[in-house]
Symmetry: C2
Subunit: 526 residues, 2 copies
């Protein structure tokens, strides 16, 4: 049986010799957490003077009982009032309402709160984008349709297999899962990944592998090891916003090279090399994020030759090369490399699931040692349980079959999104048809602005990523939009695209001075 949507309590207080009551009403269906509902209403009472200075609040236990809540919820509510300086705890007196201006004067001199914002380092002032945070919050808001972050949908995750492995591991030797482990990564997992890479063509030793907390940490550790402020880094245009943020935080000088259907334009890179001496080129050769481009074999060879001639490194990020729909992309740069110029970065976040935060770097032994040293003062090591679970998944030989299954799920989703785009968004948008991976890269027509479209769409509870996030100079992505088809059900995806079409038409019409009449209310449909 469900608890009622609204519960209420009264408590009494005396003012000017007459008795009043202050009540709290809870709405269990509201998106506002219960503790905030309580603290907000108490604040109102206090600020209105319903509950005056010196008045004792009911004990958390009593209030919790009256409201039919856990005590912890009331504790949280009271903590909000403490934070705001509206109440204080006094031994023998309980929790009382105080004059906010009096709060600070207790056992020692306490000035106004520290002005921490004066303390913030200026070094990473240019890395304030919050796209990743927002992505990760959107997928937990049920009312939002997320076409934003690249998360695998529930049906893509091998839940039963993982459950079986976790249960088995817990039964066999749970202490091994909970204890500290190697900074460089669990040795048997590194051996397993080394084997796996050989199968893919290149020769790798476990000593050349570092397990990381996902590929973002891989790039972050590599930046720590390789970049001093002012060092030149070459990226693709467009490129993954997370990488841009990492290189910005490292205060690198970021130079970009355009991408076309065959991937990074090597002729453009060659011209850049006449002027710049980069430490490394960062590339995602297979189903590039966001463009979907696949770097051709010819260009891969040309890129390697440039690296050898000009002596720069290549960071090859490869999260999705095995998520192809037609044919496997050309061999990885790592497997073609004859001279240890390529650092290979990958993870299980796209192919299995992102929650364990597991990725890896393949590099020289020397660099692996340096990365493990830096890892000591970043977070010491990747969570041990997750590494064991991945090891067992690979050992059990489940990975290839799993990849086959999700490839077929992904291609269906891609087709559904393309069909929806064709139905609802032409001709206001144009788009590519990616041959693998998670994303469709759109162009907005008729002067539509990416940020405007994304914002209006978010009001309709559909999340997408504006093109501006993918460029060194954001304005270059003003007519671009990235859509992700991996996460939502086909129904929700279609609805999201329909709303996108509606907004694009509406904005276009407004720009031309005429209103759009086809309004859709998401609540009526979801």
């Amino acid at each position: 049986m469900k608890k009622p949507a609204v519960s209420a309590i009264l408590f009494f207080y005396t003012m000017s010799n007459s008795t009043h009551s202050a009540s709290i009403a809870l709405d269990r269906k509201s998106p506002v957490p219960l503790y905030l509902q309580i603290s907000n209403q108490l604040k109102d009472h206090i600020l209105r003077g319903d509950i005056f200075v010196g008045k004792r609040l009911p004990s958390t236990r009593k209030l919790a009982q009256s409201l039919g809540l856990d005590r912890s919820t009331v504790l949280l509510a009271y903590s909000e009032l403490y934070s705001d300086g509206l109440i204080a705890a006094h031994v023998g007196k309980g929790t009382v309402v105080v004059d906010a201006s009096e709060v600070e004067k207790e056992s020692f001199q306490a000035p106004a709160s520290m002005r921490w914002d004066d303390f913030f380092a200026s070094s990473n002032n240019s890395a304030f984008d919050t796209t990743i945070q927002k992505n990760n919050d959107w997928i937990h808001q049920k009312e939002i349709i997320s076409l934003a972050g690249g998360d695998p949908a529930p049906d893509m995750v091998p839940a039963r297999e993982i459950e079986r492995i976790v249960t088995r591991l817990c039964r066999t030797d749970i202490y091994s899962l909970l204890r500290a482990s190697s900074c460089q990564g669990l040795p048997p997992l590194r051996e397993m990944l080394a084997t796996d890479m050989i199968r893919g063509g290149s020769a790798v030793s476990p000593e050349e592998i570092v397990i990381t907390a996902g590929s973002v940490q891989a790039l972050s550790l590599l930046s720590r090891v390789l970049l001093d402020p002012g060092d030149v880094v070459v990226v693709e245009k467009p490129t993954f916003y997370g990488a841009l943020q990492i290189f910005r935080a490292a205060q690198a000088r970021i130079v970009d090279v355009p991408v076309d259907a065959e991937g990074m334009r090597i002729d453009a890179l060659e011209r850049i090399l006449k002027v710049h001496k980069p430490k490394f080129v960062y590339t995602m050769p297979a189903f590039q994020n966001p463009s979907g481009a696949v770097l051709s074999l010819e260009r891969k060879k040309a890129l390697l030759n440039l690296a050898y001639r000009h002596q720069f490194g290549i960071i090859e990020e490869d999260p999705v090369s095995r998520l192809f729909f037609d044919r496997e992309p050309a061999p990885s740069l790592k497997s073609l490399d004859k001279s240890a110029a390529v650092i290979h970065v990958s993870s299980i976040s796209k192919t299995l699931f992102p929650g364990f935060r597991i990725g890896w770097i393949i590099c020289t032994r020397l660099m692996a040692k340096r990365l493990a040293t830096v890892r000591q003062y970043e977070d010491i090591h990747s969570n041990t349980l997750g590494q064991h679970v991945l090891l067992e998944f690979l050992r059990d030989g489940l990975y290839d079959r799993h990849l086959e299954r999700i490839r077929s799920l992904l291609v269906r989703r891609r087709d559904a999104m393309i069909a929806a785009l064709a139905e609802h968004c032409a001709p206001a948008l144009s788009w590519n048809t990616p041959a693998g991976g998670f994303y469709i890269w759109c162009r907005l027509k008729s002067g539509l602005r990416s940020n405007e479209v994304v914002e209006e769409l978010l009001h309709k509870k559909v999340a997408t990523i504006p093109g501006t996030a993918f460029f060194v100079r954001p304005e270059e992505g003003a007519d671009r939009l990235r859509l992700c088809y991996s996460y939502e059900s086909e129904d929700k995806m279609r609805l999201g695209i329909r709303l996108l079409g509606q907004i694009a038409r509406g904005l276009t019409a407004r720009k031309k001075g005429k209103p759009d009449v086809r309004e859709i209310d998401i609540k009526a449909i979801v």
Copy 2:
């Protein structure tokens, strides 16, 4: 039934028209991994010319079969040979031995390997200590007695409770455990920790909490947010080597303040403040690592007053305040703070287990937002499963009882180590008797050098941390040694201490020119 300790295969080759054989012998009991045994023997054969250039090696499948091994082991062995340029794979020809000088000449020009060491950033040149790495490797080497890193012993970990929780969570909603989650940390876990802190005395909102991958990451994120190169940081003398490494990597100017039995010397800090304007003071007030000192209530108030007057922050690291043996330490700085000057850092690595990498920061909302932003480009978020497991452990109300249990285990171990020290190490060493936590802080007498003792002891397979690791100027710790009593069984701990005593006496005698006769062989005892 066990596999035989040695297996062997032969394969045949022809040289100068006569047939020879090359064999591989495996020792399954050797500490050298099987793949290395294979690759080393193959290398020998190749370098001796037993297997000549152009010769085709058996397929990995065939060799694996002959040796009775998994194919992956042979793949790893071959990968070593690839790496060394001794073999190459050719379509239609299989794996053949090549002239190492010829390897590079394939489809494109390939110069010698990239000289990556020329590329390393100079920014973190001063953070090359590898103590943490070594600690984490030692505990996985069965032959080593580790009195080094602060790891909970198997009997301290609540294995059955965790198993029950993990199994329950997997059954209920496994997808939730595997998916991406909030950069700031799982909201219900933050609410739970906020409640827990209120119980401890301070008022905290979930918005003021950031979940981290352990307290090392907490300090690392705070450094990113707060420190520009050259900023002043005050630390205790001695202090945790991990913190020193983090502040060194941030290129901070590190100033130290001595610690006595009541913790940080506030009078000394006051003198420093006449010269320096620190961004923050880093302190571990409860059972300080390594000294075991507990900052008194008087000094806590004095420290806060200084922070308010001089406007600096305080980072309070508190991993073990609840692991007290007699009485609980004075309230945390955080709970005494009236002005948001204190940033509180804690974790479950000491009280529960370190393998999940979970800790947290309590700070202002503004700073929590900033930290979550930085987290996006460090590793995005803490592993989701670990956060859920901790949440359930706290929700089930298991934490307090667990703490009680491990307090009694720890105090017994402390007593055992103290007894062993008294028996075997007086008068060459003196030591404190900590009232909580994991460590004993020793002084070496008669001119014994810490690094020398630690090195000799490691030859006897006993790991400890030299005092030098805990000081801004390492030489100040030359007569100091940290011992950890949390990890090894009482028997092994006693043996380790006995060996320490023996080495101390031996070194003292050598210094005085006379040999020590009481030699102990660890293998005869363990």
